[in-house]
Amino acid sequence: MLELSDLQKKLLNDFQRNFPLTPKPYADIAKQLGVSENDVLNALNELDEKQCISRIGAIIPPNQIGVSTLAAMSIPENDIERVAAQINQYTEVNHNYEREHVVNLWFVLIAQNAVHLNNVISSIENETSYPVLRFPLIKEFFIDLSFRLDLAND
């Protein structure tokens, strides 16, 4: 079972957004939580080592910068690893999941412009010899709250 300290739980739940844009952000977080900067750095490094966090990063809304689309393919089970690996070679692909459905491979592409995005999708179709369905975003319905993690040990 994953053992997390109180500090780690606080960091996970309270700093999914509004990360300080200041010269010493971790020191500022430490001040808010009444601990030292080193405590925060150590806690985060451990969360990173334990694969509890993906990164400290930014969520960019789709189509604000560049163009993006959700895409999907129907791949026979015995070929899915090959196709997933080919798709992952593209730096334009940032998420790629297998889902339990006939339409089983779902990925997100982002590129600086529509021409480039189309070229990448065409290349994927040619290389894998399966068609790609495209589902570009029409509208995002915003969620204001962070996802509340229930981190009680159970």
Partner: protein
């Protein structure tokens, strides 16, 4: 205005902010910006809504949230905004997007539910259907089985 160096900056932040005393300075060094410039441009991008959320990106699976389902719905066009707002009242709904219907995939509203296991997610979905009155709406439920890639977008300069 988005400047070329902003793409370099977004590429850096996509990799993740270093965990050290002066992370913005370290980030800036790699792309020829000072710490102050990095903070100034990130603040600008955030104020303009080009960065929606700066912070810790958690790995739900390691933290015990092992099930996630994408549910796609066929909602009458005129009702989409209303239904989406109703869905977002549930804290377990973590994403809600409108996307185009295709003849081979006639669904226009996508939502995501994260839960500790499949049964939890199924119960949450049942609750969503009942409380939003979606019993007769066509849908598909797609649980994720394997993650082949999850990371920030890579931005390249012109």
């Amino acid at each position: 205005m988005i400047e070329n160096k902003d793409y370099l900056l977004l590429a850096q932040i996509a990799e993740g902010l270093p965990i050290c005393s002066h992370p913005y300075a370290i980030m800036g060094e790699k792309i020829g910006l000072s710490e102050a410039q990095v903070i100034e441009r990130l603040t600008y991008l955030q104020d303009r809504g080009m960065i929606k959320r700066l912070g810790i990106i958690v790995k739900h699976a390691t933290l015990g949230y092992r099930a996630n389902a994408m549910i796609v719905w066929r909602i009458p066009e005129a009702d989409i905004d209303f239904v989406a707002q109703e869905m977002l009242k549930f804290s377990f709904v973590t994403l809600c997007y409108q996307r185009p219907m295709l003849p081979e995939w006639p669904y226009n509203l996508y939502c995501m539910i994260h839960g500790k296991n499949k049964v939890t997610v199924e119960n949450q979905l049942a609750q969503l259907i009942e409380q939003c009155g979606l019993e007769t709406i066509e849908k598909q439920i797609l649980f994720s089985s394997r993650c082949f890639k999850q990371r920030g977008a890579v931005y390249t300069a012109n």
